[in-house]
């Protein structure tokens, strides 16, 4: 895919979030090779869900980070959202001390390790719900934040009014929404084993394991210790830069067609495709349908089609 990087300063930027699922190492390597030639501006790398997933070790991440950087991407290393074991803290510390790449802190432990020493990104699993909280984190080195997925467009506008202009805001614009984390692994539970005996069974579900209601409504997706929405949140309508909107749209990787999703978002932000047309074309890349209720201050599962209330 040919890429042209033109007038990148004033328009909305695109980021690729961390892979939330467990994929085999070869698939991950292939995936990031494909990403090198896509028009995403920022790539977040790292395991954010479960420390038992080890397709990629520290050095593998660093090597992919270097390749993506050479390909012109801004690279950020993301940390685990739920920390329980001391070994997990040790790994987060190692990431924080990498000395080259910016860190996306997904838990306050990472913030504690970074605070006052180096600039960092506040990930979507940090509880930043009001400008005073954001201001405190900015004073400790935060330069960009990803809004918690349950907050709305009008909440973001409320932040933008009080936020220093240099602080970038990013929203979760494409993908199954991360909704919860637990000590328990639900993929292992579905296989009737405990987490300690999981045998990395989540590798069989490259987009998560569907949980439906007894009326066969696709409801949630199980992804190890994480629970996600079954529907894909789509905020392609926010591709046009505005004073109160997000600066960066995050696309969450899926096992197939991520490069096509990126391409459609890119066409929408470049103005070569109307957002409504992009949304229409994007729908076929969603496994079971779209939602965007959170963005309009409604139930997250609601589908407003990019046209919710005020």
């Amino acid at each position: 895919m040919a890429v042209s990087i033109e007038n990148a300063s004033s328009r909305v930027r695109l980021s690729l979030g961390p892979i939330l699922y467990q994929w085999p190492k070869e698939k991950m390597l292939d995936f990031y090779r494909t990403i090198e030639s896509t028009p995403v501006d920022i790539v977040y790398l790292g395991e954010t869900v479960c420390s038992k997933r080890r397709s990629f070790r520290y050095q593998d991440w660093i090597e992919v980070a270097e390749r993506l950087q050479t390909a012109g991407k801004e690279v950020v290393l993301s940390t685990l959202a739920l920390l329980e074991a001391d070994s997990e803290l040790g790994y987060v510390r190692k990431l924080c001390n990498n000395g080259r790449f910016t860190i996306e802190a997904n838990d306050m432990a990472a913030v504690q390790m970074l605070a006052g020493n180096t600039r960092f990104v506040g990930g979507p699993s940090l509880n930043i719900y009001n400008p005073r909280t954001l201001g405190k984190l900015v004073s400790l080195g935060l330069t960009r934040w990803v809004m918690p997925v349950e907050l709305s467009k009008s909440v973001l506008a409320g932040f933008q009014k009080e936020m220093p202009a240099r602080i970038e805001s990013e929203v979760f614009a494409w993908g199954r929404l991360p909704l919860a984390y637990s000590a328990r692994c639900y993929t292992a539970r579905a296989h009737e084993v405990s987490k300690d005996d999981c045998a990395n069974c989540c590798v069989d579900y490259p987009d998560g394991l569907m949980l439906s209601t007894r009326e066969d409504e696709n409801f949630l997706v199980i992804n190890g210790i994480q629970t996600q929405s079954a529907s894909v949140q789509c905020l392609v309508h926010e591709s046009n830069d505005s004073a109160t909107g997000p600066n960066i749209l995050r696309i969450s990787p899926q096992s197939e067609n991520t490069e096509h999703v990126i391409s459609l978002f890119h066409q929408a932000r470049s103005g070569s495709l109307k957002a409504t047309e992009a949304a229409y074309k994007l729908e076929r890349f969603s496994p079971v349908g779209l939602c965007d209720g959170y963005w309009y201050g409604e139930a997250g599962m609601a589908a407003c089609g990019g046209a919710g209330g005020p």
């Binding site: 959202a81 739920l82 920390l83 329980e84 074991a85 001391d86 997990e88 803290l89 838990d107 306050m108 432990a109 990472a110 913030v111 504690q112 390790m113 699993s125 509880n127 930043i128 719900y129 009001n130 005073r132 909280t133 405190k136 984190l137 918690p148 997925v149 349950e150 907050l151 409320g158 932040f159 009014k161 009080e162 929404l177 909704l179 919860a180 984390y181 637990s182 000590a183 328990r184 692994c185 639900y186 539970r189 579905a190 987490k195 300690d196 394991l209 569907m210 949980l211 439906s212 209601t213 007894r214 409801f219 199980i222 209720g293 959170y294 409604e298 139930a299 997250g300 599962m301 609601a302």
Partner: protein
């Protein structure tokens, strides 16, 4: 080891005090706390009466201000902090960084506890709150095994409080959006999980169905007990099989591991349930008081009495209890 008990109203507060609570935790009648339910919590007059009742009997009172203000609404949380401080409560239970920043700046002498809704699961996260805001105690989310709690207690700069009994959140607290995904209202944004206004019970010929904002959470035979439709305790289909895919209706009960919690140096044990009745508070407090006293007298020989266990089980969701994440096999 301090026993911290819930009170959603004045009769519950009295029940907790009378049955041996070392501390009682309460909330204001609004969305500044995580039990924002209709008819629950304290107005100013009730707080004054409660404080008077507890203080006369040597029991501490904590106020939970443990939800997350959004742009434009911080004043309500700040007023709550000011009121609690003016009452001279023994501690505030807080979750939001902005609220803590305000409290630490305006009321530097006011004792702060990190709420479970603050979602701090490691000593590094807790160190952040201790260093930045002078937080003096942290409540650990229900995601750690006993061994991990022991490590947390050992490395944390401040004392640790854990949950001892009550309804079980199986997701890490403070970062669960299941309720808001289905209803638009959740613990962080509204102060309640699965708000009652979205709950519907309906009958078919032979079944009873429970729904949350239209989503079928469970369906039981008419002679069975239908639980409250909390999403994580519903029955769903995964890989073609219908089951409690996340967790069964059950409550946490730590009596079997009380000597472990004592030995590893846990500072306080909390009972969940500000939304429950005064009778629940009385029984749970009485049992935990007796168990803790017995355990402190002779931890080596401690065994939970059968009567205690059956009383706690009768108070439990689904009339069954679990050790939850404290036990690795549960995970």
């Amino acid at each position: 080891m301090e026993l911290v008990c819930p009170a959603g109203n004045l009769p519950s507060l009295k029940a907790a005090v009378d049955n041996g609570a070392d501390a009682v935790y309460i909330g204001f009648k609004d969305e500044t706390n995580a039990r924002h339910f209709a008819g629950l919590n304290f107005n100013n007059k009730q707080i004054e009466q409660g404080l008077d009742y507890a203080r006369t009997r040597g029991t501490k009172v904590y106020i939970a201000i443990n939800t997350y203000p959004q742009p434009g609404s911080s004043a309500k949380w700040e007023t709550a902090v000011d009121q609690a401080a003016e009452y001279g409560v023994d501690a505030l239970i807080v979750a939001d960084i902005g609220v803590m920043d305000y409290a630490a700046e305006k009321w530097p002498e006011l004792r702060l506890h990190l709420s479970v809704q603050g979602s701090a699961t490691s000593h590094e996260a807790i160190r952040f709150y201790a260093e930045q805001f002078g937080v003096q105690r942290a409540v650990a989310p229900r995601v750690l095994s006993v061994k991990q709690v022991a490590s947390l207690v050992e490395h944390s700069p401040i004392p640790i409080e854990v949950f001892g009994f009550g309804s079980l959140c199986v997701m890490v607290e403070g970062r669960c959006y299941l309720s808001s995904y289905v209803t638009g209202q959740g613990p962080n944004t509204f102060g309640a999980c699965s708000p009652a206004s979205f709950v519907r019970w309906s009958e078919t010929d032979s079944k009873l169905e429970t729904r949350l904002n239209g989503v079928l959470i469970d369906r039981v035979n008419k002679d069975e007990n239908a639980g409250y439709p909390t999403i994580c305790k519903g029955r769903f289909k995964v890989n073609g099989k219908t089951s409690y895919a996340i967790e069964e209706p059950t409550s946490l009960n730590t009596l079997p591991i009380l000597p472990d919690l004592l030995r590893i140096g846990v500072a306080a044990i909390k009972i969940e349930g500000r939304q429950r009745s005064p009778a629940y508070v009385a029984t749970a407090t009485k049992v935990l008081r007796a168990a803790i006293d017995s355990c402190i007298r002779d931890p080596e020989k401690f065994l939970p009495e059968h009567a205690w266990l059956s009383q706690l089980t009768s108070l439990s969701e689904g009339v069954q209890t679990t050790l939850g994440a404290y036990q690795r096999e549960w995970q």
